[in-house]
């Protein structure tokens, strides 16, 4: 306790000086305090730029087949080698980033929005709460990947349907997080005060409770994004995800599966990108959690 008060004092004393720091000094201080956030953020940005600007990085057509060039090891012509149809693994891997990023971002955003809306309502109305949380417990007892697989078995393979199949297992988890916070915030004096001033429930939810939830939700979103990217690759690898003609990391590796012994590079490079992307996003999540002081 004493040390934290002293730290606070030191920070207050340093505050006016901080404003006079140059931009580069401020950045250096930020980097020293949040190394994981910085490293994760930089890697994430590089991969995002790589995916969005895939055509600019000396890639060829990711779909062009050249049977003469099939199963070529990495060389100057094919940096990451070529696959069993003679397609360039480097181009395919770079374009594959697009699918992963779209899936990750959409799943994180959509499950957050839907889960928050439902969680706010469920947490505030006690009568709904008991029943709905039983239902949520049941849904969360189904391992996410199996639920997503079952959904894909019932829908046509498309990027949109993969996103839907990954959102559904995430929603109960977001609801649970939001509900837990609502339950504790509901008894908070600021809510009591707002009630006394005549604020209605929707206003209390949106103006008082939602802002307090922002930090944990942002952190949760990064973790959902990372796991969605991983799960998209799992689904595609198992043949139940993104349709095979779209180069996604999972699809490239699924096709390389038969050639592990002959052409390991088909699996090596997309997997490396996948691991790096997921790692970077998880690092950003950990960094944000420390920075925003969640939990």
């Amino acid at each position: 306790m004493a040390s934290s008060i002293r730290a606070l004092g030191a920070e207050l004393a340093a505050a006016p000086a901080a404003e006079r720091l140059s931009a580069s000094d401020r950045f250096r201080r930020f980097a020293r305090r949040n190394p994981t956030l910085l490293v994760g953020g930089v890697v994430m940005a590089i991969i995002a730029v790589t995916g969005v600007l895939a055509p600019a990085w000396w890639t060829g057509d990711p779909l062009a087949m050249r049977p003469v060039d099939r199963l070529q090891p990495p060389s100057r012509a094919h940096w990451f080698g070529s696959d069993n149809f003679g397609r360039d693994v480097y181009s395919r891997t770079l374009y594959g980033a697009r699918v992963s990023l779209v899936v990750g971002a959409s799943v994180a955003l959509a499950s957050l929005v839907i889960g928050t809306a439902l969680g706010l309502v469920i947490g505030f109305y006690r009568r709904l709460d008991t029943v709905m949380m039983r239902v949520m417990d049941g849904l969360m007892a189904i391992p996410a990947i199996l639920l997503a697989l079952a959904l894909m078995a019932l829908m046509k393979g498309s990027v949109r349907n993969v996103i839907i199949a990954l959102i559904i297992p995430e929603i109960p988890r977001v609801i649970r997080l939001v509900r837990a916070s609502v339950l504790s915030l509901r008894e908070h004096t600021m809510v009591e005060g707002a009630r006394a001033l005549g604020a209605r429930t929707p206003r209390i939810l949106v103006r008082y409770i939602l802002p307090a939830l922002t930090a944990p939700l942002i952190v949760q979103a990064t973790y959902i994004c990372a796991s969605a990217i991983l799960f998209e690759a799992y689904l595609s690898f198992l043949g139940a995800g993104t349709p095979p003609h779209i180069p996604s990391w999972g699809n490239i590796m699924a096709e390389g599966k038969a050639y592990v012994q002959l052409a390991f590079w088909i699996i090596l490079f997309p997997g490396l990108f996948l691991a790096l992307t997921v790692l970077a996003i998880n690092l950003v999540g950990d960094g944000l959690r420390d920075l925003l002081d969640v939990r």
Partner: protein, 313 residues
């Protein structure tokens, strides 16, 4: 204590009820006519009609739910559309590989994850701690199947130490069984191990700053004894919880790992069923696997009461 355990046991009934209904309702919630989807792209009107009567999709929805729940109560999960065999038979055939794989992975993860987490907490801030944390974050981000391929490439294809893929039943001897299972189990265990190590470290850090730990060190007990008997025992609750919750990761990973190593388990059964749109098999596997997950978490709750008699539900 018995009463707490019975109460927790009863609480699993609604959860499993929701699972059973949800798995069944998926068929109807997803867009389109389920009979058309299950019959496949090249189905004739006759095929579709046959699927519809076979799955009872022509009956009212509530009747269908009743039939499905009644079947579960009698231990009947329906029959595969593809092979006509009862789903329970198919699951029994494939259970051995999956149970062996997940159990071995679980044992490996706990045997390595817990000590590594304890060590990291004890030597907080040292290079050991930092490497454990790096391992924990990267292990958690590792795509399971990719790691599997890398291990296969290194240990089976390049070094020829272990078989590339396949499964040997334990009836054929322990050595062939383990030789085939060790790479898949290591592949599968990494994510889980990372999770356990991280949780053990965090929980131990909280306990190590307690007075009784300082006292134990001060009276000259061996560090090993203090760490394991005094600290770990009190830090074990969150670790046990994460072992239960993380089991879902293990199951999800098993589906993919079985596919990489061509293990004839429940994951392969599910993936094959998905390609054939054999929904009765999919729904049966999900029900059983979720049941196991719920049972494991029930076990964790019971273990709680044993570890900490103060806990009441």
């Amino acid at each position: 204590m018995m009463r707490e355990i019975v109460r927790r046991l009863l609480a699993t009934i609604p959860v499993m009820g929701v699972v059973a209904i949800a798995v069944f309702a998926l068929l109807h919630v997803t867009p389109g006519d389920p009979a058309v989807i299950i019959a496949g792209d090249y189905a004739t009107a006759d095929d579709i009609a046959r699927v519809r009567t076979k799955l009872g999709l022509d009956k009212p929805f509530l009747t269908q739910v009743g039939i499905w729940l009644g079947g579960i109560a009698r231990g009947d999960l329906g029959a595969s559309i593809y092979s006509g065999l009862p789903v329970t038979t198919l699951i029994k055939q494939r259970a051995e590989a999956t149970i062996s794989l997940t159990l071995l992975a679980m044992v490996i993860s706990i045997l390595i994850g817990v000590p590594v987490g304890v060590l990291a907490a004890w030597r907080r801030g040292s290079w050991i701690d930092r490497s454990v944390m790096i391992f924990a974050v990267s292990g958690f981000s590792m795509p399971t199947f990719w790691l599997g391929f890398v291990l296969v490439y290194v240990f089976a294809i390049s070094a020829h130490w272990l078989p590339v893929q396949g499964f040997q039943s334990i009836e054929r001897g322990l050595w062939p069984f383990l030789r085939h299972l060790i790479l898949p189990a290591i592949t599968l265990s990494l994510v889980y191990m990372a999770l356990i190590a991280r949780m053990t470290r965090a929980s131990m850090l909280g306990v190590l700053s307690e007075d009784y730990v300082r006292t134990a060190f001060a009276k000259g007990l061996a560090p090993r004894r203090v760490l394991l008997r005094h600290a770990l025992k009190n830090a074990s609750l969150p670790v046990v919880t994460i072992i239960g919750i993380g089991f879902a990761l293990l199951i999800g990973g098993a589906v993919v790992t079985e596919s990489v190593f061509a293990l004839p388990g429940l994951g392969r059964l599910t993936v094959d069923a998905i390609v054939r749109r054999d929904y009765p098999v999919i729904q049966g596997v999900i029900l059983i696997v979720s049941g196991v997950y719920v049972a494991i978490n029930l076990l964790v709750d019971v273990l709680y009461v044993v570890l900490d008699p103060r806990i009441k539900y």
